[in-house]
Structure formats: structure tokens, C-alpha cells
Amino acid sequence: MVFFFGFGWLFFMRQLFKDYEVRQYVVQVIFSVTFAFSCTMFELIIFEILGVLSSSSRYFHWKLNLCVILLILVFMVPFYIGYFIVSTIRLLHRQRLLFSCGLWLTFMYFFWKLGDPFPILSPKHGILSIEQLISRVGVIGVTLMALLSGFGAVNCPYTYMSYFLRNVTDTDILVLERRLLQTMDMIISKKKRIAMARRNLFQKGDVNNKPSGFWGMIKSVTTSAPGSENLTLIQQEVDALEELSRQLFLETVDLYATKERIEYSKTFKGKYFNFLGYFFSIYCVWKIFMATINIVFDRVGKTDPVTRGIEITVNYLGIQFDVKFWSQHISFILVGIIIVTSIRGLLITLTKFFYAISSSKSSNVIVLLLAQIMGMYFVSSVLLIRMSMPLEYRTIITEVLGELQFNFYHRWFDVIFLVSALSSILFLYLAHKQAPEKHMTP
């Protein structure tokens, strides 16, 4: 377990915080701890399958792990998020603690309210029991997972397959760059006029250094040359041109990225990934299909793929082999693969996301948010993994997590998955259609 902690720490330092300074070590510690405990959960699942350690000690470890994770997710991380958000707002610096407590209480309130519309509570349990907390964390986590997988399922084939790549030539890029530079020149010439006009204004004998505020502006309008009336007009033009330059810049970046992808796809690695992309797209389509069937026919799978696969081979192909032995190994491998790929995928997505939106002020908050998301993601993936495991191994998860209604979660996952996949298809279609049109216009 210490190994996981170290890994989380390393990941944090190398990847996420490459360009920033770590000011508060608390953030780093929290992140690594969350990561470590999440990985231990998976480790316990693997132990379950392999039959390492005695059953009672496994049970004990599960309970302990769960308690700690929930504690972190529900209490510590939101509190620290609130604390850091409040610290960045300069006004409230003095009463930091007070306000962060307030924020935390609102968070708890919403968290509680979340549980009401869902049929997940049984009235037998008390307020602060583990089941209640897990159920709510599970809901949020499952929603998140479904959203991410839905989007990923559609985005993955779109990115990998070169069929979708638009053709970008060097002249396209050159043309766009020239437009960008022309726009910058126009901005510059207008700003020169403003600067010169302002300098003349200054030299004409205004006693004050600058027109301060509203009255100053009115005074300068009435007492100076008519040229200054055009200043606001020019300023507006400058603003519009600046907006245009920003758009052109982003488009150019896009074109460069596409060109690189085209070049990449011609190399060996590129072709290999292209091939994988076809496989992935088939898999994703199949998943979407299955989700639709689940909802339409209102059924939740009782048996897992492994057992079903074995049943099929035994029944149809007439191959006899020791079911127990093979099911254990195959399910272990399958679960292992799922876990590893999901962790890796999550970390990569988080890193990209972090680069895109962080700045030196808000980096602490964002890391904590990421830790929160990661924790919830892992907890709910434990819930959902139950689906892919044979019956014998499900018992311990059912035991530990109490009487949650797992069927509900699976149904909810399918619904959100479908919704997110469809909306991302729509979104990507629109984006794809819009882009070529922009380049057609001269």
C-alpha cells in the first residue's frame, strides 16, 4: 500500500505540477492518500478472486478501507476545497476558517438532498451509516463514470480513425497565418492612432495626468479637438479585431494539430493505432447497443460475461473443461485489465484536463477537485465491477457494501451512458460539419 502512495506522489510531482510550484504540501498529501486508498480497494478485489488472505481478515480490511475513503471524500476534501477557494478571494482573507466551514455545511446539505429522489434508501439504517454515504457517493460517481465513458466511447473511434481527418495542406496554414498577421497589423495601426491622440491630449495642457473616471472623460470631450470623439469608436473597432485575432489564433492551432495527426498517421505507430481504432469502434458500438437493449427490454444482466462465455463454449462447442478453475483465472485477468485501463484512462484524462484549465492561482483547488472525482470514480467502479464478476466473488462486495440496490445503479449507468453517447455524437457531428465550412470562405 505504501507503494501506491509513493506512486501517487510521483505522479503528482511529475505530471500535474510540472510547471508550478507546490506551495502547500497538504494538497499533495491528500491527493496521494486518496489515490493510495483507491488502489487498495482494487487490490482487495484482486485478492478476493485469488483467494489470498483469510476471508475474515479481508472483510475487515474492506470495512476499514471503505471507512477511510468515505471519510476523506465526504469530509476532508470538500473542506479543503472550500478553504482554498476562500483563500483566493482576497476580501474574505481574515475569516477564512469561518467561511470554509460555511461552504462545507452547504455542501453537506446538498449532498444529503441528493439522496431523496432516488430509491436507494431502506428505512432500517440510521443517518450516518455507511450505506447512506456510499449510496450517495455511488450516485454521483456512477453519473460521472457514465458521462465519461459515453463521451469516451464516441470520441475514441473519432480520434483514432484517420477516416475522419480533414485534409489540411500547407497553403491552408499559410493563408490563415497571413490573415492573423494582417489582423494584428490592423490592431496595431488603430492602437497607434489612439496612443498618439492620447498623447496630444496630454500635451495640450491637461493638468491632471489622466482623465479620471466619468467626469474627466466628459471634460476632455468638451474641451479638446474633435478627433477625440472618434476614440471610443476606434476602441470598439479594436476590441472587435482583437476578438477576431483570438479566433484566428485558435483556428491556426487547430490546423497545426490536424496536420501533425495526419503526419503521425502515416507512420508505423499511426497505422497500428488506426487499426486498433477500428476494433475500438466496434466495441463501442456494441456497448451502446447493449445499453439500449438493457433499457428497452428492462432487464439487468444476472450473469457476468465470463460465466456466460464459458457456458456458451461448453454448450455449443462441446468443449469440456474445469469450469471453476478457468473461471477464476479468466475473471481475474478480465477484472485486472478493466481496472488497469480505467485507472490509466482516468489519469490521462485528468492530466489533459488539468493542463487545459489550470493557472497558478487555482491549481490547488483543481487538484483537490481531481482527487475528489478520482475517489468517487473508484468507489463507483467497485460497485459496477460487481457486474463482471462470477457469483461466488460477488458475495463479499454485497456483504461489505450493505443492502444497496445494485440493479438501480446498473440501470442508471446505462441510461446516463446512452444519453452522453448520443449527445457527444451530436456534438462531434456539429463540430465536424462546421469546421470545413469555415475554411471554404476566402
Binding site: D19, E21, I194, R246, F249, L250, V253, S359
Partner: protein, 236 residues
């Protein structure tokens, strides 16, 4: 009035160090009220009197090109940024005094701007390590500005300032440390203002006058995609 001569100065540095605030302060003599993310490049113009107070006084436009982004970004962003690095006459390197990494990144920034010929292929020969030789024949005047001076405690001030002095020496440049939200650092007559003025004068001199007093015509635009063998060596 737009017929005055112009020089182009780049303002480079990591995101969040205060380049936009600095440029606003330099050009409009006002503090920037609501700094926000700079996407792409934003330009502002300052009117500068070259050799103020002497009979040779002449007014120039100084264009300050504030290029946003991070030095470790995607290569597509880097290639796009390279478009702004054409025919540059001076570079202002901005770093945050409270953030050590931003000072270290200045080396990479200066390499990116100076070695812009190598950028299209996406590979820097020295892989980002600082190489003094590359700066030995560098003709572009540099200025190092440290921001957020007000956020450093009195106790640590000396240590930070010594470190910065070494940095400026490496670049063979002047250094100015200030706080972009307080215009008094650049008040007329202060040493900072004098340093700034000297820097701009140096830039103008390099651009328009060489040592024996002749005027140089405009610099050739660098060729990019046409004929890869034609590499333009700047300032030759």
C-alpha cells in the same frame, strides 16, 4: 501621425506572471483592472522619445507583443506562436518573483524566441538546456522584469533579489523588479524608468542605427515552407 517609425518588442513569460498587466501599465500608464487569460497574442503601443532631451530626439512607436501560453505546451501551439516571432527587435522576459519555476522557464522562452528557425520541425537542438554559446552572438537586446514584488516578505527579499541578479547576468540584460498594480515603480525619474528608457533606446538603436551611424533597411522575412534548404540567419 502613423508615419512614425516602429520597433517590435516581444513580452514573453509563463502564464499568470503578469505580462498583460505590465504591458497595460507601460502603454497606458494605468493599472489593469481585471486581468484575464490572454489567448493568442495581444498587442499594445507605446510612444517613446528616443534620446529624450537631446537635439537628436525622435519619436518612435514601440509595439509590445504580449504572447500568451506556456512554454511546455503542445507543439501545435508552439508552431502557431512562432508566427509572432518574426523580425523581433527586442525581448522583455517577464517572471514571477514568487514562483521559482517561472524564472527557470525564462531560458526556454528565450531559446524559443531566438531559435525560431528550428521551431517548425518541433525539435530544439539543445533540448531546452541553457547553452551560453547560443547567446554569445545574440544581438537582440533583452530585459528581465520580475513582478509581484509586493508579495515577497521583507525577510526573503534579499535572497530572491540575489538569485534574480544571477539570472539577469546570464542573459546579459538589465533587470527591473516591480509590482504591476502600483504605478509608482515606473514613475518618471525613478531608476526603473531610466532603465526602461535605456532599454528602449538600445532597441531603437540596434534597429535603425548601427555603430557607424548608417541606417539599416528592414529585415528580411524568414522563409518557412518554400525550399527547406534556405535557412535565414538573422542579423546577417
Amino acid at each position: 501621425m502613423a508615419s512614425l517609425d516602429r520597433v517590435k518588442v516581444l513580452v514573453l513569460g509563463d502564464s499568470g506572471v503578469g505580462k498583460s498587466s505590465l504591458v497595460h501599465l507601460l502603454c497606458q500608464n494605468q493599472v489593469l483592472g481585471n486581468p484575464s487569460w490572454t489567448v493568442g497574442c495581444s498587442v499594445d503601443v507605446r510612444v517613446h522619445d528616443y534620446k529624450e532631451g537631446t537635439p537628436e530626439e525622435k519619436t518612435f512607436y514601440i509595439e509590445l507583443w504580449d504572447v500568451g501560453g506556456s512554454v511546455g505546451g503542445a507543439s501545435s501551439v508552439k508552431s502557431t506562436r512562432a508566427v509572432f516571432f518574426n523580425s523581433v527587435n527586442g525581448i522583455i522576459l517577464v517572471h514571477d518573483l514568487t514562483n521559482k519555476k517561472s524564472s527557470q522557464n525564462l531560458y526556454r522562452w528565450s531559446l524559443e524566441a531566438v531559435n525560431r528557425d528550428l521551431v517548425p520541425s518541433g525539435v530544439l537542438v539543445t533540448n531546452g538546456d541553457y547553452d551560453r554559446e547560443q547567446f554569445a552572438d545574440n544581438q537582440i537586446p533583452l530585459l528581465v522584469i520580475g513582478t509581484k514584488l509586493d508579495q515577497i516578505h521583507e525577510a526573503k527579499r534579499n535572497e530572491v533579489l540575489t538569485r534574480i541578479a544571477f539570472l539577469a547576468e546570464d542573459f546579459n540584460a538589465e533587470e527591473i523588479n516591480l509590482d504591476c498594480t502600483n504605478p509608482r515603480y515606473l514613475a518618471a525619474g525613478s531608476s526603473n524608468a531610466v532603465k526602461l528608457s535605456r532599454f528602449f533606446d538600445k532597441v531603437i538603436e540596434k534597429r535603425y542605427f548601427i555603430r557607424d551611424g548608417n541606417q539599416i533597411p528592414g529585415f528580411p522575412e524568414r522563409k518557412r515552407f518554400g525550399g527547406g534548404t534556405l535557412k535565414n540567419l538573422h542579423y546577417d
